[in-house]
């Protein structure tokens, strides 16, 4: 009896380091942020819950904070472009790469370079390409002028199209990641299906519509969920690119970061909860829809 108890204790001790770190840096902060969100704690000194308790004030402030909802709009705008433009581009590239034999490895290597680099590197690199400081040293404007695309020349970092430009840069950084997952999904579709369709006289569009798209549905919904979560919880690229462009490209998570930076920990926590609840709702709805879709196409094995 004692031997088995000791045995079980040893087995448990293997999990213990992971559990301690997990409890300290995941579970505890998770519940702690609910408490913090009810306070006006400003990170100076220990948290005195009684003194700093403000009830739901933070949430009321958020609800009526137009800057916050504007940042939500900005985030949704960028997410919209990532969902549509980025992912369609990624799917088109994946389809194209499976069609060409030569250089397909080269393309795969190149497309995947951007996702492995940090948001800061990408953001700063493009900032320097777009920056017009010192005046007249704006590389990108010089390039578009020389390419005969002078109508594109503009203030890329703080001009009126800055939100769209930021969204496109985001797509540019992220498409390689969706490309790789699409590619894996495409390679999982058995070739016989296409051969059978061809014998039956289907053209390329018909096989895409009737074979590729339905069989790719699980991958597509997966990419959509991850795109939403990934876009709404990243901001470092935008911080490096244009620092929010005076509110035009400020995303929610950047507001949270800035509020924490100015010691408004309670407010930042409340904002984090609001954003978290919205994202959890979206991702669960998406998974629910994707299950229905997969059932409809009969590709749901589990």
């Amino acid at each position: 009896m004692n031997a088995t108890l000791k045995d079980k204790a040893t087995s448990f001790s293997f999990v213990l380091p992971a559990l301690i770190i997990f409890a300290l840096f995941y579970i505890y902060p998770f519940f702690y942020s609910f408490i913090l969100s009810l306070t006006n704690y400003n990170i100076i000194g220990d948290l005195n819950f009684k003194e700093s308790f403000v009830g739901l004030t933070n949430f009321k402030d958020i609800a009526s904070d137009s800057d916050w909802w504007k940042s939500m709009y900005n985030g949704a705008f960028i997410t919209f472009w990532a969902l549509s433009f980025q992912n369609v581009l990624a799917l088109m590239l994946a389809l194209a790469v499976t069609r060409v034999v030569k250089m397909s490895k080269f393309y795969r290597v190149v497309f995947f370079t951007l996702p492995i680099l940090s948001e800061i590197v990408i953001g700063l690199l493009l900032r320097r390409l777009m920056l017009s400081e010192p005046v007249g040293r704006d590389v990108l404007n010089h390039m578009v002028n020389n390419l005969g695309l002078g109508f594109l020349a503009q203030d890329w970092i703080s001009g009126e199209k800055v939100r769209l430009i930021t969204a496109l840069v985001h797509c540019w950084k992220g498409f390689g990641w969706a490309f790789v997952i699409f590619l894996a999904g495409l390679q999982g579709i058995p070739n016989q299906l296409y051969e059978a369709a061809r014998i039956d006289g289907a053209n390329a569009w018909q096989s895409f519509r009737k074979i590729t798209l339905p069989l790719l549905m699980p991958v597509i919904t997966l990419i959509m969920v991850l795109t939403i979560l990934g876009t709404m919880s990243s901001f470092a690229m935008i911080l490096a690119l244009n620092q929010g462009a005076g509110g035009e490209t400020t995303v929610p998570i950047m507001m949270i970061y800035n509020h924490l930076g100015s010691d408004l920990a309670g407010l930042a926590c409340a904002e984090g909860l609001v954003l978290g609840i919205i994202l959890i709702t979206i991702s669960f709805t998406m998974f629910f829809i994707s299950k229905k879709v997969r059932k409809k196409y009969g590709v749901l094995p589990d």
């Binding site: 079980k8 204790a9 040893t10 087995s11 293997f14 999990v15 380091p17 992971a18 559990l19 770190i21 840096f25 995941y26 902060p29 998770f30 702690y32 913090l36 948290l47 590239l93 194209a96 790469v97 060409v100 250089m103 393309y107 190149v110 497309f111 995947f112 370079t113 951007l114 492995i116 940090s118 948001e119 800061i120 590197v121 690199l125 493009l126 900032r127 920056l131 400081e133 040293r137 590389v139 010089h142 390039m143 790789v180 997952i181 894996a184 991850l226 979560l229 919880s233 470092a236 490096a240 929610p252 949270i256 924490l260 930076g261 920990a265 930042a268 904002e271 984090g272 994202l279 959890i280």
Partner: protein, 279 residues
């Protein structure tokens, strides 16, 4: 016949034009980055960094690495990445081994807890973590490494556990008969068998730490403890007009990753898509 041949060639030309134009848009900024980093300011001002550098001028690198202290930030990044990855590999493989092979009450509950943590998005998880570190007096390198090792923990445990599950137990059984205790079996039998999955875990987490910015920028107020990403943003803010210097700094940060990637593509692809494929 000739018609189909022409059609095929035209299709290929269209496809390659499409693929090449996107590929160029990916490559060009990095050529510009490296190229500009070798230029003097005068040369950059005359050609926008668009012509090949006239000589491999190392002044910018000298300025950035030695004088602006990027050797230190680089070293910091290497140290944080190494310690975090080692910590994660040890902790997660121990846990994964136990989840897969050993028995104790509550095992499944704890495992599903780790799983749930992977599924639930905590976009602003850094806020309470930062407050916690502040209260524990851990706004330092130890606190940073500990917090970072939590970030990759759930996924690493999951990856290793599923890998352990697929392995036969024969070797471990014979090790047990030969008198190895559990810890020895884990280290001498389990770890070598699970190396392919460890590669993915290492790359996934190493990239994560190397590219991490948010926590690092919050925790390290003092420059000398900053890793590259946090230092880069600050450096760029200080050097508003010095494009060539900033390009040298970016090259120092990005090039090691790009070179490693070119040599280890498969592991990188697996590593960065690991999170996606699980879900």
């Amino acid at each position: 016949m000739a018609f189909y041949q022409t059609k095929k060639i035209v299709t290929l030309i269209v496809l390659h034009t499409f693929l090449l134009s996107i590929a160029l848009s990916c490559i060009f900024p990095f050529f510009w980055m490296v190229n500009t980093s070798f230029k003097s300011n005068a040369e950059f001002n005359s050609d926008y960094g668009l012509k090949p550098a006239s000589s491999l001028l190392l002044d910018n690198y000298n300025q950035v690495i030695i004088k602006s202290g990027f050797w230190r930030y680089f070293l910091n990044s290497v140290i944080y990445t190494f310690t975090t990855v080692i910590l994660i590999v040890l902790i997660s493989s121990l846990a994964a081994y136990s989840f897969s092979r050993l028995h104790f009450p509550g095992k499944n509950v704890i495992f599903y807890m780790f799983l749930a943590a992977m599924m639930i998005p905590l976009p602003a998880g850094f806020v309470p973590v930062y407050v916690l570190l502040q209260q524990l007096g851990l706004l330092n390198r130890t606190g940073y490494v500990l917090a970072m090792s939590n970030m990759g923990l759930s996924i690493s445990i999951y990856l290793l556990k599923t890998f352990f599950d697929q392995l036969p137990r024969d070797l471990e059984d014979s090790a047990k008969i030969d008198g190895c205790n559990k810890l020895e079996t884990w280290w001498h039998i389990g770890m070598p068998l699970v190396t392919p999955a460890l590669g993915v875990v290492i790359i996934f987490n190493a990239l994560n730490v190397w590219n991490e910015f948010v926590l690092a920028s919050l925790i390290f107020a003092e420059k000398k403890y900053m890793p590259l990403q946090a230092a880069l943003l600050q450096f760029s803010g200080e050097q508003v007009t010095e494009h060539t210097l900033v390009m040298a700094a970016l090259t120092v940060t990005a090039l090691p990753i790009i070179i490693l990637y070119i040599f280890m593509q498969k592991q990188f692809v697996k590593g960065i898509t690991a999170g996606a494929i699980i879900k």
